[in-house]
Symmetry: C2
Subunit: 334 residues, 2 copies
């Protein structure tokens, strides 16, 4: 089966490039309410499942013991720009556990956001691990391990107790079987497991609704999702799609991107979880796809619907500010 073309990029009167993909939206009971393309094949969720990976931080009691508020919880679920506010909160989280940047095992990189990168180039000799887009997630990992009295050394490896716990958590949420066969190494060195999109979407529907979860996990999930929706800047940063999507409907839309064209989202008020992937891994297409998918669930709110469709279908301009073409989703989302 070939996945359908879901996003077109136009220039003049012609389509210049095409993106295929797969999308699914399910309710808390796992019923499919919208689907495009092949959604039963394993997909690496990459950073789109960070809220699932942050559950040990909550369930060990570390987040409460260290007095974390919504910003820390949002940052634990984030892929951030490495802006000063992100770096400061990550450092604060590590300090709460009596640790610092040296405990991070995520590696370092310059910001992926051009504006932030220019600021960093002007103020830093080189970035450190706190600037890594995953530093909040890793700080959360370290807090969970340290609060439990464990040794965080090697916390990114497949056999570390933390990664075993995350594996179990994600299996319970997604219904997938996670192991060496479907495991890859993520950009920040932790294991990532290929899971069918349907399972990922169901996992986020469960987190958003509590359906089928034990009370402790339901509470922890709700707090993480609500923290992200309350602090969208700390989930991504200036100009980023996750931040903009969550700002469009404060407290009502959760959205989280992952590398290689993945997006997960949830609409808690409607009990919906969403997972999608652009087949070719392109972010611009995944962003259009998630906005168009979310829009389908807000047809009864014309302003919000229009704003979401405006993120799905948008004009492109060149270096002189001239209109050159559009990114637009296909009729598959109608």
């Amino acid at each position: 089966m070939s996945n359908p073309v879901l996003v077109e990029v136009t220039r003049g009167a012609l389509v210049e490039s095409r993106h295929r993909g797969m999308v699914i939206a399910v309710d808390g009971d796992g019923n499919t309410v919208f689907s495009l393309g092949e959604t039963d094949v394993g997909v690496f969720p990459r950073s789109a499942c960070k809220a699932m990976q942050a559950l040990p931080l909550m369930e060990t009691g570390a987040a409460d013991a260290y007095g974390f508020g919504t910003r820390e919880l949002a940052l634990a679920c984030s892929s951030h720009n490495g802006e000063p506010e992100h770096v400061a909160v990550a450092a604060k989280m590590l300090a709460a556990a009596g640790r610092d940047v040296d405990t991070l095992e995520c590696g370092a990189h310059w910001s992926g956001n051009q504006k932030t990168l220019i600021e960093q180039a002007r103020t830093l000799e080189r970035p450190i691990a706190l600037h890594n887009n995953c530093s909040g997630k890793h700080a959360g990992f370290i807090c969970a391990v340290c609060h439990d009295g464990g040794d965080p050394t090697g916390y990114v490896t497949y056999d570390h107790p933390l990664q075993r716990e995350i594996r179990g958590t994600m299996e319970a949420l997604t219904g997938g079987v996670l192991g060496h066969d479907n495991c890859g190494t993520d950009g920040c060195s932790i294991p990532t497991y290929a899971v069918p999109l349907k399972g990922l979407a169901h996992g986020f529907a469960k987190m958003a609704t509590g359906a089928g979860l034990e009370p402790e996990r339901a509470r922890a999930s709700k707090r993480l999702i609500e923290a992200c929706m309350a602090e969208p800047f700390y989930v991504a940063g200036t100009g980023r799609a996750c931040t903009r999507l969550m700002q469009l409907a404060p407290g009502r839309i959760f959205a989280k991107t992952g590398a290689e064209g993945v997006f997960c989202a949830a609409i808690p008020g409607k009990g919906i979880g969403i997972a999608l992937k652009c087949e070719d891994g392109t972010t611009r297409a995944a962003e259009a796809m998630v906005a168009a998918t979310l829009a389908r669930f807000f047809k009864d709110e014309p302003d919000l619907h229009a704003s979401l469709r405006g993120m799905a279908d948008h004009a492109m301009h060149n270096w002189n500010g001239l209109f050159v073409g559009d990114v637009r989703v296909t009729d598959a989302f109608a």
Copy 2:
């Protein structure tokens, strides 16, 4: 018809993302010698056809009148990083025509190359039009117009005599009909015309061999292609695929990238022109595709073949330097 998957990106033991595309290689007489996917559909060549667009610079006599050597000619065909050497040659070209940066109509942008961008951020308040990746092409345009006694104002517009001349040149080379119906606006504001890949490949085969061209155009084409092969740094810059490909076989491979996953290339010694596009517009895939296509024509040179296949199929590493997966072409290129 659906274009075939030509590039896969793996993670662990699984394929994470897939790129479809179309490729064609033709000889100077226009005979197809290799082809994948749909090659009769119009494709915007974008910057991949800059060597064609530079022909007026040669054919007006401007390049010789201004004493341009291989670096200026290569830069006229380039999409450069905006490194200091690129900026200096573009400024020198404009000065030869009695002009400066103010005549450029390409707009300004920060370098697309991270290392160069960091250097720029540390040394510039903001980039100017000389830093635009197209500044060499635009300087060549201005030189052609000024040497001819024309007014360069508006040289980027569809109706300017220069763009009319380029339109005619490209029609002759590609066999396509260029007009408003297949015209879009490029990133640097000049018109770009969708042309079937077969016509583009044939145009580069003609430029590389002189087949079917009038002697003056054959000479001009040969000088531009040879200048690019002699000065690969000035066609792109540090770390760039065009530069690396041409450095692999000095004087024997011409290669030029374009936005949205296009690549054109030529092997003058074998009389071959190549044009390809990744359907989804992704550069990493277009680079793998052009390297694999070129490799097919050098099976008799094991070292060069291996180097080209090494650019087609290559490992990816994460922020910690750990191996995470491969970019690899499919068996379609075998």
